[in-house]
Amino acid sequence: MANTGMLVSMKPTSVDHSGTSASVNNNGGVDFSAVTSLSLNGVFTSDYDNYLMVINAIKDVTGNVTLGTRLSVGGVEDSTANSYIMQSLIVSGTSYTNGNRTTENTWNTRSPVIANAGWNGLTYHIYGPYLTQPTAIRAVTGIATSGAYIADAAGTHNQSTSYDGLSFTIASSITGSVHVFGYRE
């Protein structure tokens, strides 16, 4: 039977990391343990415009940490100054006013999103990373801080470059998994 499913697993052609371990699993996702950086290469292609990335992770020691993300091509990160803009929306208890916008050389979450208090879930919608046009992302999160915490974000990147991968940088080590899917066209 022809597979007409919505999502196609984008198995990385290679992964790089700093820390204990990171490897591609049988389903095409990446399992990682105690890493402070992780690069997924070859996950964006000309076959698809838009992608879904699912992260499930926990910080290895007490506290919580932000997550930095950069687009890459051929394993080389794009670190162009002021090219990554990120708008945050943070909801904690009765407070929802802690929005903020940052312009940096990485998409850096304004709020910590990987907590040691429990496992954290992050879903990224990624629009057009392989197209030679600016890329947009939208993050929808469930964070374990204070039991449950929202740290959603919208990001844009102003370079009209075709990217085939992305990289994460984390100030303190995390353990978990990440999987990138293409939306079938």
């Binding site: 415009d49 903020n100 066209e185």
Partner: protein, 176 residues
């Protein structure tokens, strides 16, 4: 056997200036109206539209009207609740409209995920969109909308509230 979690749907037809089909993908260039026919059916209850878009120069909302047999539902039977975050400002509001709002396009490239619950069922329809736009370089706009008529629809019209938009979209059936 593994069961796919969603099915890519090819519209039976599309219409509008600058609107065309590329396989199942609806491609639009400088479009002011995107008519999409024959995408909702008894096969699925819930649908997802993934759209990337860029406006020509203004800051339009992406609006939607359900349609059946090529005719839009244009009466004021839509209710909209929105949540926006720009800079340090967060706000929301509710209004009654003749359309649903399912995204916001501004500046450069952006996108929206639009979930549509029960459009082909003879019951009210619900919408939920999660959007990123390049307004002020990065901006969050989420919308929840309902349509109160108990009519079964087979299509949808998307259009910018002003200006024109360029981009592409795909539609998936999610559940049954």
């Amino acid at each position: 056997m593994a069961i796919p979690m969603g099915e890519l749907i090819t519209p039976s037809s599309v219409a509008g200036s600058g609107v065309s089909l590329s396989g199942a993908k609806v491609v639009f260039t400088a479009a002011t109206t995107i008519n999409i026919n024959g995408v909702f059916s008894a096969t699925h209850d819930t649908y997802l539209i993934v759209v990337r878009m860029k406006p020509a120069s203004l800051n339009p909302n992406l609006q939607a009207r359900l349609r059946v047999s090529g005719t839009d539902a244009t009466a004021s039977n839509y209710t909209r609740q929105y949540l926006v975050a720009g800079g340090t400002s967060v706000s929301g509001g509710r209004s009654t409209e003749s359309y649903a709002t399912v995204g916001f396009a501004s500046g450069g490239e952006g996108g929206s995920h639009v979930f549509i619950y029960g459009p082909a069922l003879a019951q009210p329809t619900a919408f939920r969109s999660v959007c990123v736009s390049a307004f002020a370089d990065a901006y969050i706009q989420d919308d929840a909308c309902t349509h109160s008529l108990s009519t079964a629809y087979d299509g949808i019209t998307l259009y910018p509230s002003s200006d024109n938009i360029t981009g592409a979209l795909t539609i998936y059936g999610l559940s049954q």
